[in-house]
Symmetry: C2
Subunit: 303 residues, 2 copies
């Protein structure tokens, strides 16, 4: 699993700082998470393959998380896209896009599904055989969800050294072994599955939490994720402003990481007022040592 | 009068090419013309003062001319703007912006007036003592206007060498002279105005024509402008495609410039398919010699 940061600043895009957008590569999916103005240009800059994007997850409808979506949707059409696109986001996101398409007398040219969210409980919004995505209800000035991306437990791994000891086990038996079944030899003897296979890799998980004020109810949902991205718009000196605008400080993000016992924390959504972002790391590591700063164009491996 | 190109490519923004946006500085105004995605970042890059922008002119509602508007309007609020903004554009532009503000539970925080256009005749849409702005009805796939920006004829210029010969002409008489009045000396003698003043500077004019197919009815409207920006999405080899998509070729833009007897032509709205833009100049100069290529970040003096 890999996370690439396309933008990690709050509010207004500038020449060197871009609003929130990320690409999560997980089990053959490329998920786009949030889509501030200019995301499509950042995607080009960092060589994201447009055709790989089939699902877009939008946390909330503030401009710095969604104003780039209509441009990207339009560009998909200009690239002659045919494959379906699914957009997950707050109720209203369909109106936002459809109104703009109607007024520009445009059309997508490919199927777009809108999966509109409105519940305030964590819910499963996408799954296939290998991956599940859940919402993480956040607390911001507007209805907002984070997203929890979880790999599913994979198949058991074949122990070829052991298997090769039994001439009668054939390739066509492998799937049953991967599924955990014991093997019955021709003489009736049972070989236990655990003697022929080993445990699957631990499923990895990534939690995206932006924008939100300090909000402990998310802790059980993101418990022990391998990577947590948590917004840290401000430093502790602006804790009042964080409270007022329903954002978090670096310290608060780190406290959430510690309480949830996550493996690694990335901070982002930095206010443009801060020139030296290293202060965010210094503040956070006092609470939670394994903290990193989001950085445009940087790819983080997960697990 | 000065024109700065912020973006001059069609359709999709890329890392090095941006969609249409221009700043026209005319008689103390800074007019923003069109506002494709990323315009606010281009404004920062080329040091455009955000607070100077009081009027925005939008030609049509295709994304590459308007998707940056909501972001700019939002940024104005974050910059604590208080002064009124007037947006001129096709009917629907108000709904486009208001819908996005409503769904993001945002507000502008300063007054925005929408001056919605729907007639298909050239009309005066703004004037003050020094400047007038008219629409130029264009022919595109969607309702589209170009804009004609005209200085008004200024006051007559004082000829101080002549005036100083008459001790009795005082400073308080100057405005009458500037307005063209003759001067009556105390002895009853009349000094003709033309002996005390010279003609005002020739008023300058700029015509912005994008997007449009080859459309001769605009010729009388833009007759003899000092500068014409005319779209040239394609070269002549794609004339069929230009016709189909209701765009122009470089040759067609130049033919319009020639028929309108303009002083200077700038081509822009280039399709991203062309790598060597010099071909546009080569093609156009066969019809109209004084042709230039739009270039991001470049400022053209008018007059």
């Amino acid at each position: 699993m890999k996370l690439t940061i396309l933008g990690c600043h709050s509010a207004t895009p500038k020449t060197t700082t871009h609003p929130t957008a990320q690409i999560l590569e997980i089990k053959n999916h490329s998920f786009l998470i949030d889509c501030g103005e200019g995301t499509q240009v950042q995607m080009r800059k960092y060589k994201v393959k447009f055709s790989k994007i089939k699902r877009i997850f939008i946390s909330h409808l503030h401009g710095d998380h969604v104003f780039g979506l209509i441009g990207l949707i339009s560009t998909f059409r200009l690239l002659n896209r045919e494959t379906e696109l699914t957009v997950y986001g707050p109720k209203g996101i369909k109106e936002l896009i459809v109104t703009q398409l109607r007024l520009s007398e445009s059309f997508a040219g490919y199927p777009i599904k809108f999966h509109e969210l409105s519940t305030k409980k964590s819910e499963l919004i996408f799954e296939d055989k290998k991956v599940a995505v859940y919402t993480i209800p956040l607390k911001h000035r507007i209805y907002t969800n984070g997203f929890l991306f979880k790999e599913k437990l994979g198949e058991r791994k074949l122990n070829m050294t052991e298997i090769s000891k039994y001439a009668e086990i054939e390739i066509c038996d492998y799937q049953n072994l991967k599924n955990g079944k014991d093997y019955k030899l021709g003489n009736g003897e049972i070989i236990q599955n655990k003697n022929l296979t080993s445990d699957p890799n631990k499923p990895l998980s990534y939690a995206f939490c932006s924008d939100t004020m300090y909000h402990e109810p998310i802790v059980p949902i993101i418990q022990e994720v391998d990577l947590l991205y948590h917004e840290a718009t401000f430093l502790k000196d602006k804790e009042d402003l964080a409270l007022k605008t329903k954002h978090s400080t670096a310290q608060q993000a780190a406290m959430i990481a510690k309480k949830a016992n996550v493996a690694k924390l990335i901070l982002g959504h930095f206010s443009n007022r801060y020139k030296d972002l290293n202060e965010f790391k210094i503040e956070a590591t006092k609470e939670f040592i394994n903290t990193y700063l989001a950085e445009e164009g940087k790819t983080f491996s997960i697990g």
